[in-house]
């Protein structure tokens, strides 16, 4: 068989162009929707339960609990006199270092598996064989994870707002509550960056997600043991929570040293950009 001698080169650019509309970002959000949905569902349930059980909580000796080592570890500080019971419980249940562990863990898994899963199932080949550069793919994935983080934080804010509307005794000082969410945002930013770095390096979705979660668990343990005693207090500074102590803002009614937020934000950027550089250079092999 002989190649057709009359074959004419097809001229590129004849096909009508169309808008790309962030295909990787939307695909990543779609891939992690179950995980993020579950986290948001959990937030809604916890928030509503706190509001619902608030009358029963009034009978508990909360002050004793908060001055105990466990309460201090979770909340990071004792509540100031003006803090409402609802604010205290929200700080403990949603905004303590648990938030970082639970919802940060979810975000870490989503970020960690975001690229590695596509490498593992080889669907990344189809993406990179199209008009999508590695840089664009990475940035869109990162943006998707940050949107997921925003969704989680927004759900917590919305749930709290709904609680204040539904339950009579559910009240808090919005100023401190919203500033606490800025802290949470900074923590989620560094988690997203770390997760992206892990995902850029690895080629197996579950392993990468698992390792990213382990990083968050390590940070949580550093915070917990660092808060437990003076001799181990240096451990606190290894994780992001001590730089962005969200529950402390709600409990103490003050936002101490906001410049410290730059630490997790800068770390998140460094992790994320390191992942980008590595991903740009690596061989993509499952």
């Amino acid at each position: 068989m002989i190649a057709p001698a009359h074959a004419q080169a097809r001229v590129g650019g004849q096909v009508e162009a169309r808008l790309k509309t962030l295909p990787v970002l939307t695909a990543t959000l779609r891939e992690s929707q179950n995980l993020i949905g579950a986290a948001c569902g959990y937030i809604v349930v916890i928030g509503l339960l706190v509001g619902l059980l608030l009358p029963a909580f009034k009978t508990l000796n909360l002050q004793a609990y908060m001055t105990g080592s466990l309460g201090a570890m979770i909340g990071g500080t004792q509540p100031s006199p003006g803090t409402t019971l609802f604010a205290i419980y929200m700080a403990l249940e949603l905004y303590g270092s648990f938030f970082m562990l639970l919802f940060g863990g979810v975000l870490a898994y989503a970020a960690g598996s975001s690229i590695a899963r596509n490498i593992e199932d080889t669907t990344i080949d189809l993406t990179l064989a199209r008009d999508i550069s590695r840089v664009r793919l990475y940035i869109e994935k990162w943006a998707a994870i940050l949107i997921a983080a925003t969704i989680i934080v927004a759900t917590a804010i919305a749930t709290t707002w709904v609680c204040t509307l539904i339950f009579q005794s559910a009240s808090l000082t919005w100023r401190w509550f919203l500033l606490a969410n800025v802290d949470v945002g900074a923590t989620m930013f560094v988690i997203a960056g770390a997760g992206m770095l892990v995902s850029a390096v690895m080629s197996s979705g579950r392993s990468a997600g698992g390792i990213a979660v382990l990083v968050v668990v390590f940070w949580y343990l550093c915070q917990t043991f660092g808060a437990a005693g003076d001799r181990l207090s240096f451990l606190k500074y290894l994780g992001p929570y001590s730089y962005a102590p969200s529950s402390q803002v709600i409990l103490s009614g003050q936002w101490l040293d906001p410049w410290r937020l730059l630490v997790p934000v800068a770390a998140g950027l460094i992790f994320g950009l390191a992942g980008l550089v590595y991903f740009q250079r690596r061989d993509i092999t499952a």
């Binding site: 190649a3 295909p23 199209r130």
Partner: protein, 304 residues
């Protein structure tokens, strides 16, 4: 790109995977694919076919050597190349939570191009657009991958075992489609295990074994190389040793029905003249299967 310039030009490509025990996946291969050509890339499993293809797409980076696709450097101008090509991966995995329609739309968005050939492709390849991809059989997934590769009217398609999972009807339909598209100026680079497919579709083939090219030849030349098979039934007694001594006869097989199968290389004329010394009851001459040639290459008996 001028029409005389090769559409794909691979020069001294070497790919070694790192690690404690480096693996040389591709060892200094060079070949070129011309415009409008259907170029087959053959080799056994692990020969380096997919590695070569993924280097062309800049998914993995060569250890040494250069690749030019559509006149552009595969490493530096990857995006400009990707806008003009279609690709089917070897192991087609599709996002199961999407319908075929959503998936094809996503592919078109990622390409930034309208799927101008989509309707025409769907008349040829049956893809149930509204069904989720997770419910698709392997053959249906392959059809979907074929559609996504061709729908934006590419200038070049790079296909890694494109008919894997298709039934014989689907394979035939796809091969006919490829030939039609090559007539329209499409250049096709395809790896395959299916020798009959390559034989009937490709203009030229490269055979790769253990990372090294063992042959790059036109199919017609390979056919010549394969030679012919003469099936002869004599009325009188003929010794097998006498047949082996006939000029041009490479191998003789004596079948249980009394016929001899002679494998002949080169001209058939001296063989027929020699056989005519005996009384022949039946004589048939057939082309030898190309499979034999490929098996030689695969087995390493070919001239390097």
């Amino acid at each position: 790109m001028s029409t005389r310039q090769p559409v794909i030009e691979v020069n001294h490509l070497i790919k070694t995977y790192g690690g404690a025990r480096p693996v040389k996946a591709v060892r200094d291969i060079s070949f070129a694919v011309q415009l409008g050509e259907i170029f087959g890339f053959l080799g056994p499993n692990g020969a380096g076919k997919t590695t070569t293809i993924r280097c062309m797409l800049d998914v993995i980076r060569p250890t040494a050597g250069t690749i030019r696709v559509l006149g552009l450097d595969a490493r530096k101008d990857g995006l400009a190349i990707h806008r003009r090509i279609g690709y089917i991966p070897g192991d087609v995995r599709l996002p199961g939570d999407l319908t075929a329609k959503q998936f094809l739309d996503r592919c078109s968005r990622m390409a930034g191009l309208e799927p101008v050939l989509l309707k025409r492709l769907l008349t040829r390849f049956e893809v149930p657009l509204d069904r989720k991809l997770k419910s698709f059989s392997k053959g249906m997934r392959q059809m979907t991958a074929i559609v996504q590769a061709f729908m934006c009217d590419p200038e070049l398609v790079i296909l890694d075992e494109p008919t894997s999972g298709l039934d014989p009807l689907g394979q035939r339909s796809f091969n006919e489609f490829l030939i039609d598209e090559a007539e329209r100026g499409l250049t096709v680079f395809m790896s395959s295990h299916i020798l009959s497919e390559v034989e009937h579709t490709c203009h030229r083939v490269a055979v790769i074994r253990s990372g090294a090219l063992v042959a790059v030849e036109a199919i017609d030349r390979l056919r010549e190389r394969a030679g012919q098979v003469v099936i002869v039934d004599f009325d009188d007694a003929v010794q097998e040793s006498w047949l082996r001594a006939v000029t041009g006869v490479q191998a003789v097989e004596h079948n249980h029905d009394g016929t001899f199968h002679l494998k002949v290389a080169g001209s058939i004329d001296p063989v027929v003249k020699e056989l005519a010394r005996h009384t022949i009851r039946r004589l048939a001459i057939e082309e030898a299967p190309l499979e034999d040639v490929f098996m030689k290459f695969y087995g390493g008996e070919a001239e390097q």
